[in-house]
């Protein structure tokens, strides 16, 4: 263990000591009572023992069933409480030993002393309205600094020196925008002589559109925003319009009371706008299910319970969820209050089973993006024109190369082809009726009717015929299918089949199911004929909404043929298992099929017949029209054109995002709203008394109007009352936490009795009251925080200070912590020049290893979307991380490892851990390997010498130039890598091939790879991963 760690640890191991000053109930006594006594002698009526309550002064003075007072102020000897906590008999001792609670000697003495001092109770600080305290005297202008300084003086401490400008700008840039400062921004700030140089940086960053993205992340965690429904099947949903509303709200500096009201009750506002409806989607971010067999009433209770939990934790800092099953053990929230609060959210017209097949659960509306701007529309249209032109531009060289390659491939087709019909030994479907699948006498498999299924077929491979090059699946007509090949009832595909995916594995023993870990690569796929738009190449794409289909109306057999990446030795793996996936929908399953193995070369063509004929004839034979046909096919299908096609498709999609309406889930009020009952023990099947909407009785009252029940809009208005004790405190505390790593009250989601007391209560209340009187102005609050001297201090702590204040609660130094998951990835994308700065839009799927989703999902068994991971390409690989598609049951692994939550439930504040798995991501994840390569390209283009490149790169990731020792180490590393790659250019090429962005051909591969390795080191510096 290193020294600083040990110091911190030992400090923590010190027993608490009590100051000689008079005890405070809130600070000293309540935590002890709450932890040890309240669960039996507190607010929970059902859990109460001996009719004794110790959380209320009157009850404690009166006593319980013994009739004797538990507490006689000033007289510990007459107080039953004191007697019992010191009792020598285990039977009489409190807390009872079997409660697993035990008072330490210090705690006993403390309670006794408190009784001696008069047993003065105090109200819970957070349940009484904050009062704006007088500013402490002092020279500092910023009120924050006055409060902090006053406390520092008490402790004999003072502020640390201001951090240097580079550190400050890096800190400020990450805190406000989530991105590092550029070299130009650093240089400008360092050189700016004006007295308000720092404030001008603050204003610049607050005005950046990146501000909303950075601030949104914590809100998405709290609001449990995700792109999938959660629970077990976890299919896709469309909720990004709500996420974009959040980004814009931050960028527009929407006042917090409005921000809150629109999210809680946007749908109830008079003449609600479309965007106010979108905002109400906050309360639809809860997980929902359509799992067969789940019970409707139970699901609905779960959905509403999650709304109660999230709303109360996020806006009120109250852990109301504890009162779902019983009265709250610690906070004055009886179960009845819980269900009155529950009733606010129980009026929505949602459905217990909903959201299947990628269709939003109800209520869902079509709405437009609030982030759309005429400027971006014009820019995207212009880019789209350019991209379309680039794609359609004549490419004689590329075309020639492709034609030659295809001709060569077709010339070899059919050489030595031998088909070996296989006998199906097993044919199964997970949920299908086994009687509907039949192995025929000839070894083919027939299906009795339209199905939605994944068929796993196991066959034995022929021995002694040589290496198996691949398989052919032949589809046959049957009488049951009316002489057609399949059962589809969908228009245009009547009597047809659509095979979504084909997966094959071979094994040494009879495996009934395909082995996803060892699926055989499909090097070439051909078909005897295809329905337009359903070409055989689509079998590679696991998305259910596409696939291969033979021509509709076929009454003769058709087949599809797959050539494996490498021929298979049937002796080593005699069993072949094939999974044929028919999940296109509409009953598009096959009538009958037979699997063949083949040796030699497939005689089929990957292309449609017309194209195949032209290719075989050769370019010399083409008419101008035929040349056009080939050019157009090349443009639409050749791998060489994929990047350009992606570019066009992505711009088209972006244009649609900006100009068209898209689905988003919102709140509404059902025509016949559900009646809310108190549920005994929280169980849906034990409804008790009927209750109406209402707010917790321990908080300021909200009167019900004479003519109607209270609704969510009333709730929002109540929460944003200027004198509400919780709302503003909770919000300013959370904002503070974002800038200091922890709140003034460290339990930022719990302001209840069990919460920690604020370190600076007067400051918290000053900020809260000032926030309200200042119009709930979030940017103003943030500006106040980041311009404070407190925030601008250097973060280094000497041993003295570390000893005195290991957690920096006194704020005698600046805050320092690891960058967030998103910031780490975004920084790498930014310095490498890869970052695509578009705001908002549907979530994206950048690189992920393999198909992790399919390993755990219901793929093939459910129409739910997002059961298989299909990676995006082009600019979607390089969007900011908050746009990464969030699948709740398997969140993005390279973000989750850096403590991003799974978003199944409300998460306020992230832990920050430090693990080896994180190192593996920043060293080996293709996203980071590619970023290192592109980073090297940026440096090579910007600077000429090794030193200059290294210095430049170092500054981009840390904000400062390297010192001599650092430069020496990095130059040494560059030299070493250069030697290594010079000796092994193939290794250099392999490294540079990681990632889909093109390799800069102007760079020498050895130099490029060596510099990329140094850039990888730069991206892994601890300083790089730290917000200083």
């Amino acid at each position: 263990m290193s020294k600083p760690e040990l110091v911190v640890l030992l400090l923590m191991l010190q027993p608490a000591t009590w100051a000689a000053e008079r005890l405070s109930y809130n600070r000293d006594v309540r935590p002890v009572l709450s932890k040890n006594c309240f669960s039996c002698h507190g607010p929970d009526e059902h859990g109460r023992e001996a009719e004794l309550r110790l959380d209320l002064v009157d009850s404690a003075l009166e006593g319980g069933e013994s009739g004797k007072p538990a507490i006689v102020p000033g007289k510990p000897g007459e107080s039953l409480l004191v007697k019992r906590i010191y009792h020598s008999s285990a039977k009489r001792l409190m807390p009872p030993p079997d409660s697993h609670r035990e008072l330490s000697p210090d705690e006993r003495d403390l309670l006794k002393r408190w009784v001696e001092e008069g047993a003065v109770y105090e109200g819970h600080w957070a349940f009484t309205a904050p009062v704006k305290a007088e500013l402490p005297a002092g020279a500092d202008v910023n009120p924050i600094d006055r409060f902090v300084a006053a406390k520092l003086v008490e402790e004999g401490l003072g502020f640390s020196a201001e951090a240097d400008r580079r550190t400050l700008l890096r800190r400020l840039s990450f805190d406000l925008t989530g991105l590092p400062p550029t070299l130009e921004e650093l240089a400008a700030f360092v050189a700016d002589p004006s007295p308000d140089a720092y404030e001008r940086q603050v204003d610049r960053l607050l005005a950046s559109p990146r501000f909303g993205e950075q601030q949104a992340v914590a809100w998405l965690d709290a609001a449990r925003y995700a792109d999938t429904n959660g629970y077990s099947i976890d299919g896709g949903r469309h909720q990004w319009l709500w996420r974009d509303w959040v980004i814009k709200a931050f960028n527009d500096n929407k006042p917090y009371d409005v921000f809150l009201t629109e999210q809680l009750a946007g749908d109830l506002l008079p003449d609600a706008t479309e965007q106010q409806l979108v905002a109400s989607g906050f309360n639809r971010n809860n997980a929902n299910t359509h799992e067969g067999g789940t019970i409707a009433e139970e699901n609905l209770v779960n959905y509403v319970a999650d709304r109660v939990k999230t709303t109360s934790e996020v806006f009120l800092g109250l852990t109301m969820a504890c009162a779902q099953c019983h009265d709250h053990k610690f906070d004055p929230i009886p179960q009845r209050d819980y269900y009155r609060f529950f009733a606010f959210f129980n009026t929505v017209g949602d459905a217990p089973h909903d959201g299947d097949g990628g269709v939003n659960s109800r209520p869902s509306i079509q709405a437009r993006s609030c982030l759309s701007t005429p400027e971006e529309i014009a820019a995207v249209e212009a880019s789209l024109n350019v991209a379309r032109e680039a794609l359609s531009a004549a490419d004689p060289a590329g075309l020639g190369e492709w034609v030659a390659a295809q001709r060569e491939d077709l010339a070899k087709a059919g050489a030595d082809l031998m088909l070996h019909p296989l006998i199906a030994e097993s044919a199964t479907s997970p949920n299908g009726n086994p009687e509907r699948i039949r192995i025929e006498d000839d070894g083919s498999v027939s299906i009795a009717g339209g199905d939605y299924a994944a068929y796993n077929v196991m066959c034995r491979l022929p021995q002694g015929v040589g290496p198996v090059a691949g398989i052919r699946v032949e589809f046959l007509p049957t009488d049951a299918a009316g002489g057609k090949l399949g059962y589809s009832g969908v228009g245009g595909l009547e009597g047809n089949l659509v095979m979504s995916t084909l997966t094959t594995s071979a094994s040494s023993f009879p495996a009934l199911n395909v082995d996803l870990n060892a699926s055989l690569p499909m090097a070439r796929i051909s078909a005897s004929a295809s329905q337009p738009g359903f070409g055989p190449a689509l079998l590679r794409d696991t998305t259910p909404t596409n696939g291969w289909a033979p021509p509709t109306g076929s009454t003769a057999p058709q087949h599809v043929t797959v050539t494996f990446g490498r021929p298979l030795d049937p002796a080593a793996s005699p069993y072949l298992t094939t999974e044929l996936m028919f999940i296109y929908g509409g009953g598009a399953s096959p009538a009958r099929f037979r699997i063949h193995a083949f040796t030699g070369a497939d005689d089929g063509s990957p292309h449609p017949a017309e194209i195949t004929a032209l290719l075989k004839a050769g370019p010399e034979a083409w008419s101008p029209e035929q040349q056009g046909t080939i050019a157009s096919y090349f443009r639409d299908h050749a791998p060489a054109k994929a990047a350009q096609r992606t570019r066009v498709a992505e711009l088209e999609e972006r244009l649609a995002v900006l100009t068209q309406a898209h689905p988003v889930m919102v709140m509404n009020t059902a025509e016949n709203p559900r009646v809310t009952h108190i549920l005994d023990r929280g169980v849906y099947s034990s409804p008790g008394e009927v209750v109406k909407p209402g707010t917790p009785t321990a908080l300021p009252a909200l009167e019900e109007p004479a003519d109607r029940e209270l609704n969510r809009l009333d709730l929002a208005r109540w929460m944003t009352r200027p004198d509400h004790p919780l709302t503003a405190r909770v919000e300013v505390n959370r904002v503070w936490e974002a800038f200091f790593g922890k709140g003034l009250a460290s339990s930022s989601a719990d302001f209840g009795i069990q919460s920690t007391l604020p370190t600076h209560p007067e400051l918290l209340d000053w900020l809260a009251t000032d926030f309200v009187t200042g119009g709930w102005d979030v940017k103003r609050l943030i500006r106040g925080i980041v311009t404070s001297r407190t925030y601008r201090q250097g973060a280094a702590a000497g041993p003295e200070l570390l000893k005195k204040d290991p957690r920096n609660e006194l704020l005698a130094r600046g805050p320092r912590f690891r960058l967030s998951a998103e910031q780490i990835r975004d920084q790498a994308l930014m310095v490498s020049g890869l970052l695509v700065g578009r705001l908002g839009g549907p979530s994206v799927k950048p690189y992920q290893p393999g198909d992790l989703w399919r390993q755990i999902s219901h793929y093939g068994s459910s129409p739910a979307t997002s059961q298989t991971f299909v990676q995006d390409h082009g600019e979607k690989l390089y969007r900011r991380s908050l746009y990464t598609y969030w699948k709740r049951t398997l969140p993005p692994p390279n973000l989750a490892v850096f403590d991003a939550p799974n978003r199944e439930v409300c998460a306020i504040g992230r832990a920050i851990t430090n693990t080896p798995l994180q190192a593996l991501v920043t060293l080996n994840d293709p996203q980071f390997v590619e970023a290192a390569r592109k980073f090297a390209g940026v440096l090579a283009a910007a600077r000429d010498s090794d030193e200059a490149r290294i210095a430049d790169g170092f500054e981009r990731v840390t904000g400062r130039p390297p010192v001599v020792q650092e430069m020496t180490v990095l130059l040494g590393a560059l030299g070493r890598e250069r030697t290594r790659y010079a000796a092994d250019p193939a290794a250099a090429a392999a490294l540079l091939a990681v990632g889909e962005s093109p390799v800069d051909p102007s760079l020498d591969p050895v130099e490029h790879a060596a510099l990329a390795q140094v850039c990888s080191m730069l991206l892994n510096l601890s300083e790089t991963l730290t917000r200083p």
Partner: protein
Amino acid sequence: MNAPLMLDRRAFLGRSACGMGGIALHTLLAEGMSMAARGEEVSPEMFRSVAPKAKRVIFLFQSGGPSHMDLFDGKESLEKLHGSNLPDSVRDGQRVTGMTSGQANFPVLKPIAPGKKCGPAGVWISDLLPWTQKIAGDICVVRSMHTEAINHDPAITLANTGSMQLGHASAGAWVSYGLGSTNQNFPAFMVLISQGTGKNPDQPIFSRLWGSGYLPSQHQGVILGAGAEPVLYLDNPPGVTRPQRRAALDDLAALNGRFGEQAADPETLARIHAYEMAFRMQASVPELTDLSGESEETLDLYGPEVRKPGTFAANCLLARRLAERDVRFIQLFHRGWDQHVAITRQLPNQCRDTDQPSAALVMDLKRRGLLEDTLVIWGGEFGRTVYSQGQLGSASSGRDHHGRCFSMWLAGAGIKPGHVHGETDDFCWNITKDPVHLRDLHATLLDQLGIDHNRLVYPFRGLDQKLTGVEPARVVKEILS
């Protein structure tokens, strides 16, 4: 309760210490710091119950709901009752899932295969599990497990995190949090997943089941996959060799060490340790998954599928190898036990997947002396209905979910070998003796590791959270030796 000294472990681990990188510190923290959260005097004994009997746990989780009366709880009575309607008096108002609630009648389906009484306790084990029959003398079958949940998501969440609600920490994460890691080369909690051949794909599983919930994220289970890269991002990029990486890490350590000292940043020093452990894992994981050192005899013991990565058999062998390397909590998830349809075809396949490897694991651990301090648990989230889902006798019929009773088995450290615990009625519908809730299983699991489940707590959102939750739970002393 001096506020400035009130440290919560989450902040401590996060901001001023390290995760798995600095093992010594981490272990020390794990043993000592969990109580610091509320400012209590810290003592490593605070959640200790008795001397630990198990050093590690292997949980062979059978996802989907293995059919108890077909596997471990078959009885004569069912032969006689076969085809009769389940009486309402037995059904006792029990809710059934939406999948069979509409069924007109509930005909009793006897076990789909015969079985025999095995081991000293004469526990009935199906002939579908011939290998499990052989280890009847080593295991303790609990026939009286129960759960309130009757659908997969809540049930599997309860079985693995102690609660049907989302957001709680998994059992393995709790153990990692409580006891930390005892080795330098692996995370404390590793997860291996396999697909059943009875039903594929079956019910989904999800990272929540091995997640850390409110605990710091380094306690979440790390998946050991079967592909070319068993741990995500483990391999160096193409074109980067191990010596090359070593040299780069040395340089990085020099750079980071300098910065850490200059900036007095303990986090950076911890990060150097984390990078070193990452480097060690790059060697230790391939060494773990390389089975070339295993004898033919051992491979044969686990059955033919052991040679195929990603199968339950291969994962059982890996579980033994992880146990040898002192990984604290090893959990296998085997999918495919949700036999709503075609149970007569699906269930034998599920049994074939799991029977021999599970038994082989117990045998192999035993002969290597590892069973003494390894707790092995086999079972799923609930059982299945005695009545037939679908027409009795139809090839497509199966059984629905049943939470009122189901069977699991335990073996190894501290568990009575050759024992049977709990009884159900003639219909295998209600428990008649010695009920064991999943919470009790969790309490027992922790107890065997020397942890008092009431004391291993984590303060979060105003509550002392614990694996066994707020309802009472008890250690099942009757099954302990």
